[in-house]
Symmetry: C2
Subunit: 351 residues, 2 copies
Amino acid sequence: MSGRRLLLLAEQSFGPMSSKTANAAIRYIPEQVVAVVDSALAGQTAQQVLGFGGDIPVVGTLEEGLQRNPTVAVVGVAPSGGRLPQEWRALIGGSIAAGLDIFSGLHIFIGDDPEFSKLAREKNVQILDVRRPPPDLPVSTGLVRNLDATIFLAVGTDCNVGKMTAQLQIRDVMRKQGHRVGFAPTGQTGILVEGTGIAVDAVVADFIGGAAERVTIEAARDADMVLVEGQGSMVHPGYSGVTLGLTHGSMPHAFLLCGQPSRSTVKHNDWLPTPSLTDLIKLYEATMALIRPAPVIAVALNTFDLSDAAAREAIAAAEKETGLPATDPVRYDPAPLVDALVEFHNKRTAG
Amino acid sequence: MSGRRLLLLAEQSFGPMSSKTANAAIRYIPEQVVAVVDSALAGQTAQQVLGFGGDIPVVGTLEEGLQRNPTVAVVGVAPSGGRLPQEWRALIGGSIAAGLDIFSGLHIFIGDDPEFSKLAREKNVQILDVRRPPPDLPVSTGLVRNLDATIFLAVGTDCNVGKMTAQLQIRDVMRKQGHRVGFAPTGQTGILVEGTGIAVDAVVADFIGGAAERVTIEAARDADMVLVEGQGSMVHPGYSGVTLGLTHGSMPHAFLLCGQPSRSTVKHNDWLPTPSLTDLIKLYEATMALIRPAPVIAVALNTFDLSDAAAREAIAAAEKETGLPATDPVRYDPAPLVDALVEFHNKRTAG
């Protein structure tokens, strides 16, 4: 993976809340990113647009991006609508023509497009449609329970609250401390960062658990602790099935609950108030109670849209409400969360 | 639908616990069934093999079946392994060659087989691969909450405990009583019986809720009560994601809990004891509590493998444990369950 040089295609969509996959690449593997393509923001840096990312440049055209010798073009944002707009076709086609591999998280498979696949063969270029599930997934049957590793699953008060980011922050600190920790990617962004994994929301419904089981077992190789990338939320009417399937496939020993204090309703569901942390802790614990009881042991808050004072207040309130350690592991030191997980692991394995 | 004449292909698999789709057709639409093909049981009747189905004959060859002038061949049982065995290819190919439409619930799509699809075009025959999802499913967002109808979802202590059968028994009694009741099929068997629906376990995971939403809205047309076909179980590690997605997509006002008293462990998961009815009621109610609270209001038991005395004892025990009306709606009068649902509907709409 280390030889990759990534060109992030984010035309008309680069921004703190819009280009999730590009942003995660910039946060976690900045050394691999050569440029971002977005004609609307050309001339700025990632730092200026996102508040992190240093001097990674935003360029206005594919040609400018190609001058920086990328090896992979990353299509990390989904254009609205079911089809590829013409300008995106030009970006992808131009990238393949220039000999770049393609990494795509789109619902539409780039590799199934006759024009792109023909061009890719001619240029000997690989197209990785990361949402295309493996063909041989099983129905899960709790195999994960035989692993020695301690499994932690991030769950959310909602979707898109920063579950993956929280876990990667925790992972980085754990690695620095010398722990053997694996990350199990279950979505396109985690897969881009880690170079492996399965997008569990893209598999046929019967195999959600089987996909989760497989990535968890894979991540547990050479690891004492596994952080499973969370998806959706148990109260999101559109994604809860993925969340529960992921839970029962990965069978966590404990949960990390992630939330965003500024959200008052569930995403895409204005009619549905975001439940309290306390109610969500009860619900998540109930989903495992009859199978292999697992507690929520820490709370990660995403406070990017709050002032420092409001963020610290939200964290204190979460700690008071839940009796659990809480922090924003991006904005502040992730130590309280890391300590909670390591302590849980030590207690579990001491017995 | 009424003009259909069904030939049920159940080669080497016809039996009380093995040919679920064929059995449901025989129970609910026997007037449409002309014969069952299973060379191992040729010469017997459905009644002799299943204990119901009267004199529907089991024949040993496709040719014998064709003499009864079927219009549709139903492939209702999944041959083990990922590929179609040769004898099944011959049955399906022979059916198409004879001009029969094909109804298939296989994971492999018959219509994608070059030989079968070519033959089907030549014979002007329709192939319905019932597990092929509609191409335009949405992510669900709770639209169902705007329906006037009272929505009941069957849920289970496990998969394959008789959820669909219980609901169809209830539906039949309700219709006889003059109620306007809709059935929302979510699996291949329900789809065969009803002639419409979506197999929710066959859609891409992100769209489980969207599929459930669509079939529920469809079934609510011209109905005051909707019975949504249940799938899986909230404690089945392989299928729980489908169950929760179906729950949040259909947003039931109340649940019917279905169980099979003779099961002591979860299907395919010998390591996992079947939880008590009480624990499952708490879990199912918890999954809706933060969204739109819905109680479990009745218990349907599948006692086919118990003596009459043991069945009556199990029903009495379930009533005592849960404080809810319970019965086996196939073996005994479904009235206690019907009454509970109708009473709930009347109370809800009286307000």
